[in-house]
């Protein structure tokens, strides 16, 4: 559905949207949600830094936010191994946090991310950027920046691959029964 070039263009657009909607890079923190939100946040941070001529190290602009301990479906799945949370040294208090994820689906991951964020600090504002919005929300959550809206049926899966994690940039829709390729992660589980 999306190839490497389309993904690159989508991210560039999102990066500009983020800058236009805010007050510049100084107050921004991009936090990727593991696993594939993390490289996306780093790519966005790199583009934003380039656009702003910001020469701070990237880890001052981007980090990762693990939400495993805040999920509401832990008792319905095999044990999930948590991933690291890395918050830029200056923290998030009073800043604008942009949560970054690959696919927005039920909204439960983002709900968990908001809870996780609350334990870390008190941002001035929280925004959400996703590469793909596939619909079927179960919670009143929407994305501020969307790379592409992909209408799907519930039985389908959105299969995102990124160079950093999977060796290639691609987004596909996998129909039920079809064997997804390596590197697949079902977006947001089935909750």
């Amino acid at each position: 559905m999306l190839g490497a070039e389309e993904i690159r263009r989508a991210l560039t657009r999102i990066a500009h949207e983020i800058l236009e909607s805010g007050h510049g890079a100084d107050d921004l923190v991009l936090l990727g949600i593991p696993h594939r939100g993390v490289p996306l946040a780093e790519r966005l941070a790199a583009q934003i830094a380039r656009a702003e001529g910001d020469d701070r190290p990237l880890d001052q602009l981007a980090g990762s936010l693990d939400i495993t301990m805040y999920r509401d479906d832990l008792r319905h799945n095999p044990t999930r191994a948590p991933s690291p949370t890395r918050i830029p040294r200056e923290g998030i208090d009073g800043r604008t946090v942009v949560l970054v994820d690959d696919v927005l689906y039920s909204g439960r991951t983002i709900r968990a991310a908001l809870d996780a964020l609350g334990a870390i600090g008190r941002p001035a504002a929280v925004r959400l950027a996703v590469l793909v919005d596939r619909g079927h929300r179960q919670l009143p959550i929407r994305a501020d920046h969307v790379g592409k809206n992909l209408p799907t049926s519930r039985s389908e899966r959105v299969h995102v691959q990124l160079t950093e994690t999977d060796g290639v940039d691609a987004v596909d829709i996998v129909r039920p029964g079809a064997e997804p390729g390596p590197g697949t992660e079902p977006a947001e589980g089935t909750a």
Binding site: D66, M69, L74, R75, T79, A81, P84, T85, G118, A119
Partner: protein, 318 residues
């Protein structure tokens, strides 16, 4: 992982996974709000047939920081002291809807029995059973060693490290669990004890056994773990002539600690007999990680509860 009874039930990947989760828990405990909602709505019962305030508090803190409700059920002042059996207690806990039971008992095998006798369906965590095992203590010891001696890599084991464990091996569940776990993670273990405090049959263990502490320390170990001398368990008596002789031969004195390599750490599962198995100065010295072990205990127990409870109980992990 259905229960957490014995290190012997774990493979290396499982042990590393628990240590990695414990690192994650440690990271969350540096946040402004330390309580995680992970186990909200679950009830963890601390069933303690043996007095052990520090272990009970550690499990209680771990459960509460994961938002579980905690019920403490201790021998003293309860129906247990009125002769209620483990079986009746288990049936009671089952009926009350406990989601996990942390059990501490003076009887070897109590946790195993609770897990497998069919009285209760819930996950069981062994908080020490007789002289058999104390698996979360071994995990927190490995966690502490890893942080000091193999920092930075969440997938690291303890490969190549040399650990000397000193003291009352015969009565020590800590020693048994540590021998299993440290060797599982790739460390080399040397046990040092007076011969009467080494179990007959321990020669089959995957470790070296020595009777001379100074010889063992001269090999330059990376970590020295002193065991508590459990005088209350010295049934039959006469394991060593006097406390003084024990202390001279097997105590970690200031001079002995000074002979260790600079990077070596000193550990003790607590509670310590200062001046007996370990000199007070050594326990308070920079190379002592004894207080840190206590903090590690909470992280490791959070990780164990997470692995047992934050999962679909209908199937195992992975």
């Amino acid at each position: 992982m259905r229960h957490f009874i014995s290190i012997a039930d774990l493979d290396r990947d499982e042990a590393i996974a628990v240590l990695a989760t414990a690192e994650h828990m440690a990271e969350t405990q540096s946040r402004s709000i330390r309580k995680l909602p992970t186990l909200v709505g679950t009830t963890v019962v601390n069933l303690f047939f043996e007095d052990s305030t520090r272990t009970r508090i550690s499990f209680e803190a771990a459960a509460k920081r994961l938002s579980a409700d905690v019920i403490n059920f201790s021998a003293k002042g309860s129906s247990i002291s009125k002769g209620e059996t483990l079986k009746d207690t288990a049936l009671t806990l089952q009926a009350m809807g406990a989601d996990a039971v942390v059990v501490r008992s003076g009887s070897s095998g109590a946790a195993h029995l609770l897990a497998h006798a069919g009285w209760i369906d819930q996950p069981i965590v062994n908080a020490g059973d007789g002289a058999h095992e104390h698996p979360t203590q071994a995990m927190l010891d490995a966690f502490t060693m890893r942080r000091h001696l193999r920092p930075g890599d969440p997938t690291a084991g303890l490969d190549g490290l040399h650990v000397v464990i000193v003291g009352d091996v015969l009565h020590s569940r800590v020693a048994r669990s540590n021998v299993l776990l440290l060797t599982l993670l790739g460390a080399r273990v040397t046990l040092v004890a007076p011969p009467a405090l080494v179990p007959v049959g321990a020669s089959a263990w995957p470790c070296e056994i020595r009777y001379d502490l100074d010889e063992a320390l001269a090999t330059g170990p990376d970590a020295v773990m002193m065991l508590r001398v459990q005088s209350e368990r010295m049934v039959g008596g006469g394991f060593f002539p006097t406390a003084g002789e024990y202390s001279r031969r097997y105590g970690l004195t200031t001079a002995r600690a000074a002979s260790l390599p600079d990077h070596a750490i000193v550990m003790h599962p607590g509670p310590m007999n200062r001046g007996f198995e370990i000199a007070g100065d050594v326990a308070d010295s920079p190379r002592s990680v004894i207080v840190e072990q206590v903090a590690s205990g909470v992280f490791v127990r959070m990780a164990v509860l997470y692995h047992l409870l934050a999962t679909d109980s209908r199937e195992g992990p992975r």
